[in-house]
Amino acid sequence: MSGAEIMSNAESRAVENETVENKRIIQQVFDALAEGRTQAMLDHLAEDISFVVMGTGSWSRSYDGKAAVLAELFAPLRAKLAGQIILAPLRLIAEGDHVVVQAKGRNMTVDGKAYGNTYCNVIRLEGGLIREWIEYCDTLLIETTLGPPPAARAR
């Protein structure tokens, strides 16, 4: 076995270990979200996270930085929904620094409408923290059930 092959195997094991650890972190985050507990997620958001709501809806854009994610995305969302926000994981797919989570929301709006969106989250981690979160979901359901975020309405 050549030196290059030994290095390649060592690198391969490192990537496998990273994949397993990243998947464990995200499983833990979503197991908590399935019970309405958000602390594990908040603890794992990097300060320089980029959270992207994909598409052309009124909530669709990149929220850059943890402060912006909390103030401009999570806070307005919380104001729209009643009680704890429930997001249950259905399947996790992990490779290297990425973990993909298919998930189902089970929520109610403050005015009593069911809001059960379907999500595919593509999450990239660095050093055990979430640096990038790309959310694909039913953007039309957001518009018809939640309406635009307060800032968008004011514009």
């Binding site: 994949t19 994909m54 598409g55 052309t56 809806g57 669709s60 399947r91 797919i93 992990a94 490779e95 990425h98 993909v100 298919q102 059960g116 969106n117 379907t118 999500y119 595919c120 593509v122 790309i134 694909y136 979901c137 039913d138 953007t139 039309l140 359901l141 957001i142 518009e143």
Partner: protein, 141 residues
């Protein structure tokens, strides 16, 4: 087949489709495929079997979209028999409207054939540009 093999296969199939050769992708779809368009909008449903998928979903899209439509694959993430593909559509309707949707597609493979597809996309854009899915093509629940 390993995750790496499945990933390579999907990179090859979708790369060729984006370059205009959709035949290998279509050939790789298993006869017993299930394709689910996720969500609660008019297009959201499960197509069971290749014949239903080609006739009712791809067939309907062909009536709406101009020749040369393509989806550019941007990222592949694979584990075991599942390959996740993020992609960007580059399409125009026959009426001339731009239709560039964002996709996350989850493929499950069995011995080199695609047996399950789940599509997540910008449903607001789909309804706005392509209109509602026609009732006569809707699949039984």
């Amino acid at each position: 087949m390993t995750a790496a093999t499945n990933k390579q296969l999907m990179q090859d199939l979708l790369g060729r489709a984006a370059a205009g050769d959709r035949a290998p992708y279509l050939a790789a779809i298993a006869d017993d495929v299930t394709m689910t368009v996720t969500g609660q909008y008019s297009w959201a449903q499960t197509f069971r079997g290749k014949a239903a998928l080609l006739r009712d979903l791809y067939g309907h899209l062909a009536t709406l979209l101009a020749e040369g439509r393509r989806t550019i694959p941007l990222r592949f993430i694979a584990e075991n028999d599942v390959v996740v593909v993020e992609g960007k559509g580059e399409m125009r309707t026959k009426a001339g409207a731009t239709y560039d949707n964002d996709y996350c597609l989850i493929y499950r493979l069995r011995e080199g054939r695609i047996v399950e597809i789940r599509e997540y996309c910008d449903s607001a854009l789909t309804e706005r540009v392509l209109g509602p899915f026609p009732a006569e093509r809707k699949q039984p629940a």
